[in-house]
């Protein structure tokens, strides 16, 4: 015990000496000490990422945008809560080459989906523990229509907020308008309204292709 204390004391002494003499050492060791906390936060909380590619147009990286989108991905609801919702935009590891890709979750276990051309079957029932993901832009997207249903374990995080560019800053919400809301919105028609209606239309078309499972325990 005495030896241990002596060792600790000498360690403390040398630490004080080093940190006084070389302030850089002090800063770098402090940063190293707190690095695991930051890593754990990116694992359980969420992280900021840059979205590249055009598979999620026009929701992300639209043609009239000058820069690529900087977005906040939320990992808490996926890794801790295990809450999967149809219509959410998610980042997932591609089953074929493990790269992170951004897609929209269309269907959950038990649902029946009408597939799009590259897929061999016209209809597919999503097996246990799997999901169907698709890009918003079917022509520039490699999604479940090419590689089939993906395991839920591959889903990494859920897109929460667009941070940059500033004119589209805000949380990404599913366009889920009732008729009442639609009528109210329709009173001041403009480019924004048209965009919104486009999005709503696409959402309705997507939903028309999915027959939801009877006992949807998730989402």
């Amino acid at each position: 015990m005495f030896r241990f204390r002596a060792a600790l004391g000498s360690l403390r002494g040398s630490w004080a000496y080093l940190s006084k003499k070389y302030p850089r050492v002090r800063w770098s060791i402090g940063a190293l000490y707190w690095l695991p906390v930051g890593m754990a936060f990116t694992e359980f909380g969420g992280k900021v990422m840059l979205v590249t590619g055009r598979s999620m147009q026009p929701t992300l990286n639209p043609d009239d945008s000058r820069s690529r989108d900087l977005v906040w991905f939320d990992r808490y609801s996926i890794c801790v809560n295990r809450k999967y919702t149809r219509g959410d935009i998610v980042a997932l590891k591609s089953p074929s080459d493990s790269k992170l890709i951004v897609k929209r979750m269309i269907a959950l276990p038990g649902d029946v989906v009408k597939t799009l051309p590259p897929y061999p079957d016209t209809e597919v029932k999503i097996p246990e523990g799997h999901a169907w993901v698709e890009g918003d832009e079917p022509f520039h997207s490699e999604d479940s229509n090419t590689f089939g249903p993906v395991p839920l374990g591959l889903i990494d995080s859920r897109l929460d907020t667009i941070l940059w560019p500033l004119d589209r800053y805000g949380p990404v919400i599913n366009p889920d308008l009732t008729m009442e809301q639609q009528k109210r919105r329709a009173q001041n028609r403009g480019p924004a309204w048209r965009k919104e209606m486009d999005e709503f239309d696409r959402e309705r078309r997507r939903q028309a292709r999915v027959v939801k499972a009877e006992d949807s325990s998730m989402g």
Binding site: M39, A40, E43, R82, K93, S94, E128, G153, L154, I155
Partner: protein
Amino acid sequence: MFAPGARGWANLLNQKWRHRLRSTGLYCLMFIQAACTAHICAEHVGWVHRVIGPSMVPTMDPEGEWVIESRLISPHKLRRGDLATYISPLDPSRVVCKRVIGLPGDVICVDPTGKMAPSTEHVVVPKGHLWMSGDNAELSRDSREYGPVSMALVKGRQVARIWPPSRAIVFRRNFKYIDNV
């Protein structure tokens, strides 16, 4: 004479409590840091895990054993006969351990016993996937059920068993290639 006045007592008490609060806070921070470090180590370097379940009998005991898992491997380095851990495609909150049977490009007979699929059915393992199977075919849910497993789901490789000590062993690839014999 030396006793502090009313304000003095309050001050002393304050000091004591301030000191206590400060040290508790510091200990909490240290605890959080240690927990995060342990978690990051378990996630990216390796850890000792308990393996339970009947799917890997006779390699693993169904009652549970302690096994060192390495997370420092890349799934592309796995070979036939390695024990790999991966997130179950059936349940994203579970990590399961199975043996690698087929690598990308291999032709696999789905189920030689003909129970889950006709014994004549063969598949080619696609690129970036592995064919995983439990050693105990009777009580294992593996690639026969959900098909080839994506390498993106693979977490690590089982290196050695350390408990119980009588069965301690370093796991080796137990595959014999017939054309080499």
